[in-house]
Amino acid sequence: MRKVITGNHAVSYAAKIARSEVVAAYPITPQTQVVEKISSFCADGEMDAIFIKVESEHSACAACIGASAAGARAFTATSSQGLALMHEMLHWAANARTPIVIANINRAMGPPWSIWTDQNDSLSQRDTGWIHYYCEGNQDVLDSIIQAFKVSETVSVPSLVVLDAFFLSHTSEPVDLPDQKLVDKFLPKYEAKWKLDPKEPHTYGGLTGPDRYYELRYNLQKDFLRVEKVMDKVHQEFKELFGREYGRVEPFMADDAEILLVVSGTISSTAKQAVVEAREAGLKLGSLKIRVFRPFPFDLVKKYLKGKKAIAVIDRNYSFGGEGIFYSEVKSAMYDDPHLPIYSYIAGLGGRDVAVKDILAIANLAKEGKCDHPTWWGVKL
């Protein structure tokens, strides 16, 4: 069934059709519509879930971990300051190996107060041991959440599914709501590999000395190494059942491109339009969307960037005292290719619009080898 819905409601529908059993959430702009819709799903009996209306995001994450440890499928959604408040429990979820899924509406961190999009909230959670998806459109949001549950439950690693504030959260698009029976086939009821059970009592998370802790973290990374294969398989299965194709990255007119844009989130759509217009003007431009940020798709980035004349990485984020965060990752992926010029452009922090003309201008700068490492595109000085 096709329905015109916002990104926020795509999240709510995804939580419902993924048959989340426990939702614990706290309202924050611009995520509020997500929890409002889930509340009405629960009230109408459309969703058989317990919705714990917690008093903070920290508790939201804790309650999801608890529900997952009890053997249920748990979900929450948040944004910005809320995700930052969860930080401690994000580590806890990953280290406890509870496969919960969180949708995060990318919103800039205060102060000053901002409700508009950028990626510093989610990228600050880079090292918490989660799988990270960055979505481009509302269909992507819905499908990513369903896929994320399957991947997470397979490898016992939680997933963060990220979408841009307002550009997606409050923008309506036609979204195909998949048939529940097909979703149930794709994502059967959660069977936990381990769970709290009085009939089989175990202690989880007890004090662990240097002689054992190290191996537990090694095991987490070992499972992260499985994620890419699992994801590729999940994408294939998803395509067969629902007809939509997904990858860890998405190339657009990338193969024959001379200049390649590396982008994420909604900027990816704008970049596609810029690519089309640039091609009409005679510039061989292409783009590569990074959909999965953790585990970082080093293999695919290498594959698509190889042999290009120049790369322009556009970051809607910044690591202060460092550099654009996707740029760091891309550079790291291309370490073996020292002659490839990789340029860094920062754009759109705090929800500043990044239009086709901006991306075309960035592409031309990259073509001419112009970059201030980084260039803060459009900054008003």
Partner: protein, 319 residues
């Protein structure tokens, strides 16, 4: 002698507690009442160590360790996870120290109780951050030395009255306990177990290294907390107060204080202030329980005494 204490032990003999540890007895008695169909979540506190290092455990029920401020919300999530899978009959217990309860965890606890989640929250109260080496908490009593309240900067504000805070949340059931009165405690845990909704219990648990007394008098010390009425035993069911133990005999609070090094620095005037606080709390509880205060004369006596002569740090309205 026949007691009502169940014989079943759900705690193994091996654990990492200090000698004379009250928190360990608290756990032992509580599990006897709860039985095997129980799951615990424990935040950072003495019990995150007492249970034993991985891969050992001293408990015969499942235990999920959690972050400091999340005992209540974690329990709420675990309970929901069980309930949605038709296992809502499992006792879900948040077991936390006083710091994790009255300080860093109070927000999550308040949320759970306000929402009416079906969780049993138990605070074993040893009146300071004992696991990290005796730092003051919101539950440290007036006059106490801790490593962060060294005399003359000993604690000069009263401990938080968590039971009153819970009553203000309209909690269905809340009660105090004392490890020196296990039968009273087990009755309360049994009662809490039968109630669907949030339950809050707080059990006073002596801590020889933190209270500075020798381990063999642990029970004697903590019993005096109740016989001096410093830690009264009572319960509040749907707002109705009921003493589960009362006394006619006046035992001065100094009897409790003098056994412990943490109160060694106190002057007579300062001990009088503590006695006054005992009388005020007792009078308040009697009024709430609707019983006559047999120690009304003591309240009067110590009010006058403290008015006449009190340390500078204590405020009292003068005549």
């Amino acid at each position: 002698m026949k007691t009502t204490i169940p014989k079943e032990e759900l705690i193994y003999s091996g654990h990492l507690a200090c000698q004379g540890c009250g928190a360990t007895l608290a756990m032992r008695y509580t599990l006897k009442a709860l039985g095997k169909n129980t799951v615990y979540t424990i935040p950072a506190c003495c019990w995150s160590v007492i249970d034993g290092p991985f891969p050992y455990t001293s408990l015969q029920i499942p235990l999920f360790h959690t972050a400091f401020e999340t005992a209540a919300s974690m329990a709420s999530g675990i309970q929901a996870g069980f309930a949605i899978r038709g296992k809502g009959d499992i006792n879900v217990v948040a077991w936390a120290g006083d710091g994790g309860t009255v300080d860093i965890g109070i927000q999550a606890l308040s949320g759970v109780v306000e929402r009416g989640d079906n969780v049993l929250y138990i605070c074993y109260d040893n009146e300071a951050y004992m696991n990290t080496g005796i730092q003051r908490s919101g539950s440290t009593p007036v006059g106490a030395w801790t490593t962060t309240t060294p005399p003359p900067h000993f604690k000069k504000v009263p401990k938080k009255d968590m039971v009153a805070i819970m009553v203000a949340h309209h909690i269905p059931y809340t009660a105090t306990g004392n490890i020196a009165y296990p039968e009273d405690w087990i009755k309360k845990v049994n009662k809490a177990k039968e109630i669907v909704g949030p339950k809050y219990l707080q059990i006073l648990a002596s801590c020889p290294p933190g209270w500075k007394h020798s381990s063999e008098i642990s029970i004697e010390v903590v019993r005096l907390a109740t016989s001096t009425r410093k830690w009264p035993l009572y319960e509040v069911e749907h707002g109705k107060y009921n003493f589960t133990r009362t006394t006619k005999k006046f035992v001065p609070v100094s009897e409790f204080l003098k056994l412990q090094g943490r109160f060694r620095h106190l002057t007579e005037e300062e001990i009088d202030v503590i006695q006054l606080l005992v009388e005020e709390h007792w009078a308040d509880l009697c009024a709430k329980a609707g019983i006559e205060n047999q120690f009304a004369d003591k309240l009067e006596e110590y009010t006058e005494k403290v008015k006449k002569n009190h340390p500078k740090w204590f405020h009292i309205e003068e005549d």
